[in-house]
Symmetry: C2
């Protein structure tokens, strides 16, 4: 598969032969050859965006070129490839993301627009493809495979069957099927998942996996089903079992999760790393500004015990080969001139980045003046007509219930990282509603459908960390219904109204009614601001939030509260859901 | 790309889960995992020809299986892949080749039927595909790109343009374009080669390279042109330059050539071997019997300094990835059960070989009873109507020439391996013909068109090594016109008549008129005999030949005398050709 559009082969050959003048020659560099794992001096000639000659050793003829770029003895290597990223999680549009991460050396990303797909369906996927076309960053799309993540446990803004998958796989820029999260469906050969995966198999497209803790016979069945990769491993043994069974392992270190030490141990145990590549998955703007992008993941894994040079190979040639790209990930004649110059193999920001042979960034600074090339008129996707007043945030006991206390399945923490379960608690009833005012460790959480289904669920969470006020967000994987965490319906209603008005985002309200908002008008997921501006907005909201919490809550804490495929109790618009059992959990306990 | 036909995924999943009974379980083996480069104990479950489960470490459940095969602690690894082979050079049909090489552990070959294509065009390619379909060995075909090898220097039995390439690329089993030998055409963007290569580029098919000694700017231009591999390197620096420039290197050690020591030095200099794979190219039946197949190449390269385990990776996962196969070359769930059991990583014949999970060979013995499954009625391709009598082998001086000696460009050896040049010699003229009877170091060589063009060329060769009698052959790369080496027209005519009668082959005639023939009735290139029988025929002819020669001449010595793309003087039906200049050389010198 080619990442680049059709090239003028005759012209490039002439440029290689020195018969016509090249556009650029990068001189005085030490090439890191990711094929042979060697470093040696060379000069690279570029024409029409392609590498036409890598002159080294005996081939020392003078370049025939318009321009030189002095590499000052630095290492030249291919641009980095992010194997799996949800652009929506960065809170930026595809084109703004491009400007944010290209300076860090990333030149290609493979995206899964399943967040916006859950909100807006194929319309959203098309927006992401259209918007990305204006970016320097090469962006390839995988068709979201699990929209919605589950079939009967939530209502998202769209529901994809094999028909939608077929349509997307025919779109320009769509190169495969995105993370097949419904591993149970694949293993058990459910009708829906089989028909979806079949679309990719029949078209011989890449199928991305996603199977946390899947092991043994189940893993074998999942692999037979088609997925070839996984970015969800968190233990050493999990990584080892998957790669030994033929799975490509995408190292991850996202804003939501870091298992790099365990994963690095596994990688160090095996002798060949060609099936290992790198991804960010979910990383938001502020973390990009602070930690970088794929280079930041590399830095993290160096700290966790892997070798820098190996990691740069993973993020270049390994990623390209995993996807079957034959013109990126390597510096050689005929490849796209996506390259970077670095001082060391340590994950630092590169000194210079080239895409299609164009110098696009230097020392972390984006050099082009292509700000705001796209203008879109997108509809407001926050439709919460079921919320008409504060009273709609009261947690009412069942009709006819008239005792002054009620048994409730309260959502509590488990010993695991992020997971939760339920625990029965007796709570007071006041005016027909559950009253938590006596226990500051409890809050109400409402998951409110925002696609016109008029569903909502209100449950009690313990030890969430919010001491007062309310936190509301339209970012809630994967259906992205609105989550509101609150002590008092008044602040909840205010936060909800604010998000409705601006088309979604994250809103924090204190007890005095003062609001701060990260506005995400694009599908309730993305801002039109650039990385720095959206980071400032995030920072401001986080600061307000920190005053209301014990410090453990951040602006995306609600983002994983509703992911029905997690091995956890989560909240959807249809009720409390036990992800392990893929079944609803009663909120009120019938003794 | 899948090597296997469509699989019943639902059934395989159930087998993986232990819900249905597998066909076979291979127990008690040490898996050589070619992905991670590890060795560990496991059991492998097979169903419907596919690997469904590789149970190791914690997954120690009892197999649900019909049959067990005890691996006795041996190493289990994938079957070997030959990246590039001309089946015709083995002198066997595709199905006989299968029976010959499968016992050596080869389970997949990628063939270039350009020998038969030169003789019979697309009809020949179809025969090879058809005949291979009955074999256990997986055989994939690359469309011959250079038929004839040159445009105006010889007349072959076919001439392919982009039209024929397009037709072949659409055939079932054709997976790409075969060795693009006309590197000069590619580098200079000749109309013919560009239009041929474009067919493969447009269909995103694999393009195999072939570019001996191409280097520097020319190599860059060749790579831009599309070819991705080369099996023609013979020096250390040549290998290093090619692999560093992104080329897949196919290690070769054929019946015609061995540069393994130089190549091994290059491979040992680089740190990553993922772009190295293995091929046989031209290997004939007798060598297969003696030395094995890809395992024999492995043995040779171990001797030349490479590590056994690395070589087995090259011939499995590396080859599969080079071609983009996603279901062979690895032992993992969902992959075809093409596997072998070996005692050591030393290139010895495997203890057992499985294809699609079927035990096909043990201890070098082919176990199936599928002899002679195909019967073909093929036409006699030897059409030499221009040879009517002994007199046609006289080397006549030009009309009107009446001196008693003449200046002749005699074809002499250079200091190189196989190459030749010309040297002017004055030779006597007798009865209007060049007379070499006074110099036993000289012979006549006639290249005689066998496709009805009625061309022939007669030239003088020095130090060929034939002391008496005649050697004739219809195997003469690539156009495969008939070459006859002789001292006396009488034996030449006899040899020619014999080959005409039997449809081609190699014939040796001594001065008494006693003949021995390797009969190759299929396109004058292949026998219908099995490996052992044809080897005996070769041996018998070789023995007769040895009596007539100084020991340096073997039955295939004439096979490279007419290859117009060699950097050598060669003989075609149209004249003497200087391959370096791609131009004719006068036979008679005009002083």
């Amino acid at each position: 598969m080619k990442a680049g559009k059709r090239k003028n082969i005759e012209k490039l050959k002439k440029a290689a032969l020195g018969m016509i003048t090249c556009d650029l020659t990068i001189t005085n560099v030490n090439l890191f050859n990711v094929i042979t794992d060697e470093i040696y001096p060379c000069e690279v000639d570029i024409c029409d965006g392609y590498i036409v000659n890598v002159r080294s050793f005996s081939n020392t003829r003078k370049a025939n070129t318009k321009k030189y770029y002095d590499g000052r003895g630095r290492y030249l290597l291919p641009g980095l490839i992010d194997c799996h990223v949800h652009v929506e999680s960065t809170m930026m549009t595809p084109e703004n993301l491009s400007r944010a991460i290209v300076p860090y050396g990333t030149t290609t990303i493979i995206t899964d627009p399943h967040e916006i797909a859950n909100v807006m369906g194929i319309e959203g996927v098309k927006y992401m493809i259209d918007n990305s076309k204006n970016s320097k960053l090469r962006q390839f799309v995988l068709a979201p495979s699990c929209v919605a993540a589950t079939e009967n446990l939530e209502k998202a803004g769209a529901f994809f069957t094999s028909k939608e998958i077929e349509e997307m796989l025919q779109m320009d820029g769509v190169i495969g099927l995105a993370e097949v999260m419904d591993y149970i469906g694949v293993i058990n050969h459910s009708k829906r998942m089989s028909s979806i995966v079949d679309q990719a198999i029949n078209k011989e497209k890449y199928i991305q996996g996603h199977c946390p803790f899947v092991s043994g016979d189940n893993l074998a069945a999942y692999l037979i089903g088609g997925p070839v990769s996984c970015h969800e491993s968190s233990t050493r043994d999990e990584v080892l079992e998957k790669i030994r069974n033929g799975m490509h392992i995408n190292l991850r270190s996202s804003s939501l999760d870091d298992s790099s030490i365990n994963i690095a141990q596994a990688i160090n145990q095996i002798n060949d790393h060609q099936f290992v590549s790198i991804c960010t998955d979910d990383i938001h703007a502020k973390d990009i500004l602070t930690d970088g992008h794929i280079n930041g993941v590399i830095k993290r894994y160096i700290k966790s015990g892997l070798k820098g040079r190996d990691l740069y190979k993973m993020a270049t040639i390994n990623a390209a080969r995993e996807y079957g790209f034959s013109d990126i990930g390597i510096i050689a004649p005929g490849y796209l001139a996506d390259m970077q110059l670095i001082n060391d193999f340590d994950g630092s920001c590169p000194e210079a980045v080239f895409i299609s042979g164009q110098l696009v960034a230097e020392k972390g600074k984006y050099l082009l003046s292509d700000e705001k090339v796209s203008q879109y008129q997108l509809r407001n996707t926050v439709c919460v007509d079921q919320i008409k007043s504060e009273d709609d945030f009261l947690m009412r006991v069942p009709d006819g219930y008239n005792k002054d206390a009620i048994s409730v399945n309260v959502v509590v923490k488990t010993s695991d990282r992020l997971w939760r379960t339920v625990e029965k608690m007796d709570l007071p009833v006041k005016n027909g509603c559950v009253d938590i005012s006596g226990d500051p460790s409890l809050i109400y959480v409402c998951n409110c459908n925002r696609y016109g289904y008029n569903n909502k669920t209100i449950a009690i969470y313990k030890d969430f960390g919010l001491n007062s006020g309310a936190l509301a967000s339209t970012v809630a994987h994967d259906s992205h219904n609105m989550n509101i965490c609150y002590h008092n319906p008044k602040q909840a209603f205010l936060a909800c109204e604010k998000l409705k008005q601006c088309g979604g985002g994250v809103c924090v309200v204190d007890d005095e009614g003062s609001c701060d908002i990260i506005k995400l008008p694009i599908a309730g997921l993305m801002s039109e601001l650039d990385c720095k501006s959206i980071s400032q907005e995030i920072e401001k909201v986080q600061q307000k939030l920190s005053k209301l919490t014990d410090g453990s809550v951040h602006v995306l804490s609600t983002a994983v509260m509703s992911l029905t495929v997690l091995p956890s109790v989560v909240i959807s618009d249809m009720g409390l859901v036990d992800g392990n059992k893929q079944a609803f959990v009663d909120i009120f306990v019938n003794d």
